[in-house]
Symmetry: C2
Subunit: 305 residues, 2 copies
Amino acid sequence: MDQIAKEMLAQVADLHEVPEGAYNIRENGKSAARNTTANIDIVTKTDVSGIDINIKSGTKRESVHIPVIISETGMKEVVYNDFHIGDDCDVTIIAGCGIHNCGNQDAQHDGVHSFFVGKNSVVRYVEKHYGEGDGNGERIMNPQTVVYLGENSYMQMEATQIKGVDSTKRQTIAHLEKNAKLVIKEKLLTHGHQDAVSEFEVDLDGEGSSANVVSRSVAKEQSTQLFISKIRGNNRCAGHSECDSIIMGDAKISAVPEITANHPDAALIHEAAIGKIAGDQIIKLMTLGLTEAEAEAQIVNGFLK
Amino acid sequence: MDQIAKEMLAQVADLHEVPEGAYNIRENGKSAARNTTANIDIVTKTDVSGIDINIKSGTKRESVHIPVIISETGMKEVVYNDFHIGDDCDVTIIAGCGIHNCGNQDAQHDGVHSFFVGKNSVVRYVEKHYGEGDGNGERIMNPQTVVYLGENSYMQMEATQIKGVDSTKRQTIAHLEKNAKLVIKEKLLTHGHQDAVSEFEVDLDGEGSSANVVSRSVAKEQSTQLFISKIRGNNRCAGHSECDSIIMGDAKISAVPEITANHPDAALIHEAAIGKIAGDQIIKLMTLGLTEAEAEAQIVNGFLK
């Protein structure tokens, strides 16, 4: 693995050396390294590109890293990764993707991640997207996440796209069983002529299930963002969605959060706000010695923390 | 005018006798009575069904009543009413529609109301929809309201549909110029197998324009409601939309409020909540001597007040 790949691994998966626990590092369409543990097995799919990650019931405090690195221009791939997580687990899954594109052709990674989570399990899923490289080719990522959350299970998903992804269409679909709970935290920053679409679709099927979808985004320069969230309450359940966006430059932002109560005991709420940074916040930081650009950067960083 | 017509006029326009000021009462597709004033002229359209209401610049503290009554089963009509409101006006417009359907055929009134409001004017627009009659024929109302709001003008729209309308598709479209302000208050109650769709589309085109769209609804029994609101900020502007719904019985409610910032100085917010009446509120009123049904009715009335 060369220096560029190593630096991208640090960006997308906070990896500075070989991780502990199970991992599968994918580089330019091929498996570059893999480790399995007694409880976590990783098997290459034979029908399509991708892997099956099998986590035994009762697996506690273990982690799986599955970062993807692309540094070849013109590389385009669709990868299917399926997580089969048993009952009574407590695991962390880290799945970043970094594209370094110095060429003139587009580089694209479309990852379809499916989570089949058993009963009473706790899953933390972290996904970071990052792009770099000074070529004219675009860096494109279209992640799709599908979650089936079993009885009494809890999943927290943290999705972050901070820099350098030219075009992204994110889709997250979840089905929750009895007393299952899903928390999604999304952070998105777009700049230049970037275009981002983020769509959530959550079905609260089980009695006592709940979901909280929180998206924070900043759109700079000429970038555009579209946020769509659909929460359907099909049983006694609670759903909340929230979308807060900072708009800067000539950016455009749309928020379309939909809530549907198909059951009289469904309690659903959504909120959204789009606005620019308040002028007095900038001035306050400037009186402390920051330039206007530094003040803006500080506020944006704080907002996306 | 017979007793049924008189009672419906009282329901939709609070009219117990001939109103003061300008009016046009439409009964079963024909003009039943009309009055004009020195400042407000009403002219029958020659190309389509409907009237032009011309309000001179400078008209203050005057009102126009244009109620519509349908008591013939099988009656279906599309009516175009255009309001040409000059500069510096301060007027109230009351436009209710009542359908009394005792027959087996549907009775339907589709009113398309367009408002061309000049500069510095204040317009209060009140619209009430009401249905009754024990026939099998449906009572259908599809009102469309189109508003062009001139510089510095203010319009408040109060739309209420409390009872007896089997099917309704409401559409409200507004374009706001510089410093114009629009306030919409909608109240909707559905029961039985009623189906209601309410759609708002507001373009904040002018600098300093603002809109506040507030919808409160109650869906009972097997009724369904769909609330759509689109607010587009195309300039320095402020937009807020809010949709609060109480769900009861086997009702279904969807809320889809969309906000789009096409300008960095657009500040847009929306909120929506769907839920049932809290059990402790019912119990509290029952301890005061009300039955469960009475307690529910009291809470619903208060919510829609």
